[in-house]
Symmetry: C2
Subunit: 398 residues, 2 copies
Amino acid sequence: MTSNQVWRASTTAPVNIAVVKYWGKRDATLNLPTNSSLSVTLAQSDLRTLTTASCSRAATDSGTATDSLVLNGQEADVSGARTQACFRELRARRAALEAADPSLPKLAGLPLRLVSENNFPTAAGLASSAAGFAALVRAIADLYALPDSPAELSVVARQGSGSACRSLFGGYVAWAMGAAADGSDSRAYQVAPAAHWPEMRALVLVASAAKKGVSSTSGMQATVATSALFRERVARVVPASMATMEKAIRDRDFAAFAEVTMRESNSFHATCADTYPPIFYMTDVSRAAIRAVERINEGAGATVAAYTFDAGPNAVVYYLAKDTEAVVGTFYHVLGGNVDGWKDGVIQGLKPTLSIDEAAAGILKDGVSRVIMTGVGDGPVRTDEHLVGEDGRRVQRA
Amino acid sequence: MTSNQVWRASTTAPVNIAVVKYWGKRDATLNLPTNSSLSVTLAQSDLRTLTTASCSRAATDSGTATDSLVLNGQEADVSGARTQACFRELRARRAALEAADPSLPKLAGLPLRLVSENNFPTAAGLASSAAGFAALVRAIADLYALPDSPAELSVVARQGSGSACRSLFGGYVAWAMGAAADGSDSRAYQVAPAAHWPEMRALVLVASAAKKGVSSTSGMQATVATSALFRERVARVVPASMATMEKAIRDRDFAAFAEVTMRESNSFHATCADTYPPIFYMTDVSRAAIRAVERINEGAGATVAAYTFDAGPNAVVYYLAKDTEAVVGTFYHVLGGNVDGWKDGVIQGLKPTLSIDEAAAGILKDGVSRVIMTGVGDGPVRTDEHLVGEDGRRVQRA
């Protein structure tokens, strides 16, 4: 083993979009939530973060012995408490392995060099921190050859970004809020793999004015501190949503899945509106998307589409593959060639069967800048596509 | 007394804008609310309904013996259950008087001829039903020479339109939800007359797209039936708001008045957003008005302005006369000569001292079609300005 050996591990991790919403921390340092949540993991072919974790003695020898992260080609700050917490937890686990087996290379003490890339535009306003922290934790765990399960690693990823814990699994994933003060039982688990209900699709309507107002972290702190309606959500609404949603997924009951999804989104944004001063993530464009979904369901005579909104104006519309014509066809009819992101193979031959009201259509046309077509997908995947070369340098890609 | 004698009584009644919101009925027939509410009566010089109630035997003799109402020059339907309930209650009271004193003319059996006019454009989207039913009830009560107090008449007006009960008083008016099944204790009372705190002003920003989505009546039914957060509002939020607001008014404490006003508006719209399907009365224009108010308070270093929104996008901004420059000056600076409704005497010499952010200013400029400047005012006033002539015919006015 030469002094310039470079250890590397690379992984991809998915984006997840919650259908039972995480909003509120009971412990801001450990990212312990006020309630459980549940999400659908989106396909990594459309949306994923690729991260390489690496280390070598050369870096230490040359005196540049600090952890580093290059994200989308830009040097990123790793000194924040959350990133540091992930590094610390993973290093401690590696150090324990090294102490138990002296034949292992001493990696825990080496600086971490991380390089990360998203395959989707940051401007899309999609919460990339979940995929980012999941990939970071998974890649370092692989680099360190940790035996920890995804559920155990989810406890670490949660400390980076709460919802990141759900991106360590594919399919339908819950995050149990837990009860322990140290957060050891606040972790993710898989409700069902993607293969259990592979027909789930998602159409993301990216709103033009995707500039984020209040950050999720400060927004949820303000809601917990000032919304008088919030405690009812935590005490009764979410527990009921979790139970109904897990059953809907087990039963592949889209109507039940859709109703909880829409009610949960409404409930979350209601507590934002009840915050003082009020927080508004949705805009007139978001509300037009809701009206369109309501119209699609009305026209179909059944619930075939469900909207949900995170801390921003973008709509995520869930539907089943069999209802592509009613759902995608309607939005394609409204937005047409004005926006990018349609998949030719899906939209070819779609015959729009219903139209939404003109006012809502006009607002969507003016306000949606692109769409993303995707579906349910798998969890993190280890890959040999490294962003750090064998020489320890960042791989420059086109 | 000739057979063509015409009995007449005319009154004006004010608009009121709630600062603790009425939203939700526990009895839809009697208009019994799920919670108490509280409003500021607005000055009738700016916003009022004038109603003449009349009757004569001639109408009966001629065979056109049905009750009628001409509203803003248009024949209106009086067959609705709510209008009929008001007529029935008032006639019963008159009939009791006539039975006790046979010398009284027998008016209870005569058809009612009502003529009513608003001094503000219906297109303004201001809830005119409160002023309308208050004026209707007050005018008929005067025609019938009923000894009932305004509080007693408020029980009748409530059955026409819930919030109408608060327009039977001036100043600061509460509506106690009551507990009786027959609604006898669900009535309005005056918290303080206008003269107690006469410096209160209101600036109404009328949004261009004031087309109402969901009617208040069906909206509140849907909220009661489907919002999981609503019961928390009814059980805890409103009782606390009522107590704090009554004290704020007694103490003339604008900061406390403003905070409850804004929180109450937020809480009400939050329960609308939590309704399934969700109800949205506020638009991007409404939210820009909120941001402007927040900016004004920030700039003033004190709470000098408070927003509130009813079942529509119009903002009502309360402020005290001493803060006219900070509040009206800022909005005048943004909206300028583009919109009607400014009072020359007030805006002359106002020096705008702060500016709001450009995005919000642009949305307001595009979305506010007119303003109304007014303030706290008195309750119904009897008048000799009759809309029915001595000959029983409607007086045609310019």
